[in-house]
């Protein structure tokens, strides 16, 4: 009985909750929902038939395939780096930590236009390794490897940046306990750390994924824009739009929006499954924080 009173005291009064919800949703409405509605309304301006036709074009399909492929390739790199960097930074103290965090943030601050340029300066025909690569017939820029490298660059900070504050807030007591109870490093990681950071990790992955699929500027510089070969979906959108085919462009853009939603649906499913499991294990568990 007294627990509920305390719980009530630990929550905002009703009017404030309503106000905050209204403010938050209002903001999202103007900055997210309306643009999304506008995208879909343009995409369906010619009806369902035109929409389907725009997307079943072989060039659109190959662009979708390439976009998904790059996102999938990039994913494990980001997870490995993100977890390693967050572990080192959040759990240990060493000199130059602030500098290291700043360097991790740096890719965000580099204009996508410049990112592409940077890799051309290295791998392009006039670049540092250009002549050597050309002699050995290895293609990096204007081919898939270059597009993957650039995507790695722009998605570099996401997972680490998501995990660092979370792991900092969690401290290291639990891991230390695990180690002192005799767990090996990997046991500690998989049994203690990973379960603790899974949501943060997932958010990071989702963000990185969305960014990887949506990136235009940097990829555009190293893609070569060869139709059906090195055109990703965002590049396809741009070109189709420039050809006065708004329906085709916005239809492709709507696919990108939907692709981003797919990862979120996956997250919801995982969340739901896990809740079911914990509820089965422990029926006495207190209600979810989110409710």
């Amino acid at each position: 009985m007294s627990a509920t009173i305390v719980r009530k005291a630990a929550a905002e009064p009703r009017w404030l909750r309503l106000t905050l919800t209204a403010v938050g949703l209002g903001f999202l409405f103007f900055f997210l929902a309306l643009p999304l509605v506008a995208v879909f309304s343009e995409a369906f301006a010619g009806g369902w038939g035109a929409y389907r036709e725009a997307l079943s074009h072989p060039e659109a399909l190959s662009a979708i395939g390439l976009t998904v492929f790059i996102a999938v390739v990039v994913l494990p790199f980001n997870v490995a780096f993100g977890v390693a960097a967050a572990w080192a930074i959040a759990k240990f103290d060493f000199r130059g930590k602030s500098l290291l965090i700043t360097l991790i943030d740096l890719p965000f601050a580099v204009s996508p236009v410049v990112v592409g340029l940077v890799f051309l300066l290295i791998f392009g025909a006039q670049g540092v390794f250009g002549p050597w690569l050309s002699d050995h017939d290895i293609k990096i820029v204007f081919a898939l490897p270059g597009m993957i490298i650039v995507t790695l660059f722009i998605t570099f900070p996401f997972v680490a940046r998501e995990l660092i504050p979370l792991m900092q807030a969690q401290g290291k007591d639990e891991e230390e306990a695990a180690v002192s109870l005799g767990a090996s490093g990997w046991q500690m990681f998989f049994r203690v750390t990973l379960p603790n950071i899974k949501w943060g990790l997932l958010y990071g992955v989702i963000l990185a994924n969305a960014r990887a699929m949506g990136e235009f500027g940097a990829v555009s510089v190293v893609s070569g824009h060869i139709r059906g070969e090195t055109n990703t979906l965002p590049l396809h959108v741009e070109i189709v739009y420039n050809e006065y085919n708004a329906i085709g462009a916005f239809a492709a853009a709507s696919v990108l929006a939907l692709l981003a939603l797919v990862t979120l649906v996956a997250k919801t499913v995982v969340e739901w499954k896990m809740r079911q499991e914990t509820e089965m294990l422990d029926t006495a568990m207190p209600p979810e924080k989110t409710e």
């Binding site: 492929f69 490897p145 006065y244």
Partner: protein, 336 residues
């Protein structure tokens, strides 16, 4: 549905395979690196050439297209994009490849008509019924007239618009570089914004209903009609405008490496054939062929034009004078 999934998957595999680190070219495959609104033209032209080449040589040939902004495309070629041929919308872009040693210096003489298989010109798109009565460049500098054009420094269409206005002012009685700069300065003051490209300018004008006149390629007027409807606007031909040329060239280094010179040469030459020229006309680009021009006369009203070579001594001179940092465009914005 399952078919489109299969297509996505095969696209996935194919892209992984083709774009991988292995050398992906085979004999009988050409890459045409081009500017961004040329796609419709080459989409129709490539099958024509494939058929012609099959009949002539018995070889079947694969044609790949790459489209993006013109300057960006030639930078990519200079940085190693293996284009057999480049088909651009401005000589300054091909000149850059000459500078890099990828294209021969006299590329303009390697093919007929200045190596430009078709031309176009800059015209005015005005609101239906031309409510402000805009007939010529001199009407565009009047107070209260809003002019929409793409960024004059950063985009091909914008540069052509800028030079068209400059050339018009220069050819007026008493015209000099000084009066031309004043004229263009007044015109730019009537621009509420600089669009990021030709297409963006169109959207701003047609969909967002900003401005009284849009300066654009003649060929683009038809694309605008395709998307926004024919009765939505009027096209006005000024008394004098600029002839826009679209130079093509062979990338020497690449065709030598790939052994595709013969095919590349034929591919570009065929642009001047009856079929190639007719295809240009059907895509609203003015063919060089006089007979065809007559045949499509209703589509291409007579207009007095000047070329960049005539008035500005070629792109190689016009570009640094007007569009490099500190050029006339920058001067207009520093005088304030």
């Amino acid at each position: 549905m399952s078919r489109s999934i299969r297509n996505v998957l095969s696209g996935l595999l194919a892209s992984a395979f083709v774009a991988g680190a292995l050398p992906a070219f085979a004999q009988g495959s050409l890459l045409n690196v081009s500017y961004d609104v040329a796609r419709d033209f080459y989409k129709d032209y490539n099958p024509l050439f494939q058929k012609y080449w099959k009949d002539k040589s018995g070889e079947s040939i694969e044609l790949k297209q790459s489209h993006a902004g013109s300057s960006k495309q030639v930078r990519a070629v200079a940085d190693g994009l293996e284009a057999d041929v480049v088909t651009m919308n401005q000589a300054s872009d091909v000149d850059f490849l000459v500078e890099k040693g990828l294209v021969v210096k006299d590329y303009a003489k390697k093919f007929p008509t200045n190596a430009s298989p078709y031309t176009s010109t800059m015209v005015f798109i005005v609101r239906k019924g031309n409510p402000k009565g805009l007939q010529d460049w001199s009407d565009l500098v009047k107070p209260g007239v809003q002019v929409i054009l793409p960024h004059p420094k950063n985009t091909g269409n914008g540069r052509y618009s800028y030079l068209a206005a400059w050339g018009y002012a220069l050819k007026q009685p008493g015209g000099s570089d000084k009066t031309a700069q004043e004229f263009v300065g007044k015109l730019l003051k009537n621009a509420p914004l600089f669009a990021s490209g030709g297409r963006d300018a169109t959207t701003t004008f047609m969909q967002r209903r900003i401005g009284d006149v849009l300066v654009s390629f003649e060929s683009e007027a038809e694309l605008i009609a395709k998307e926004f409807g024919k009765g939505e606007f009027d096209v006005v031909y000024p008394s004098l405008s600029i002839l826009t040329e679209f130079p093509v060239a062979i990338v020497e280094k690449v065709v030598d490496k790939k052994g595709t010179r013969k095919q590349a040469q034929a591919y570009l030459e065929y642009l001047w054939s009856k079929e190639g020229q007719e295809n240009a006309a059907q895509n609203y680009l003015r063919p060089r062929d006089a007979e065809l021009l007559k045949k499509y006369a209703t589509q291409f009203p007579a207009i007095k034009t000047f070329t960049v070579d005539d008035v500005f001594g070629g792109w190689a001179r016009a570009f640094p004078v007007h569009f490099k940092d500190g050029g006339t465009f920058d001067q207009i914005y520093q005088s304030k």
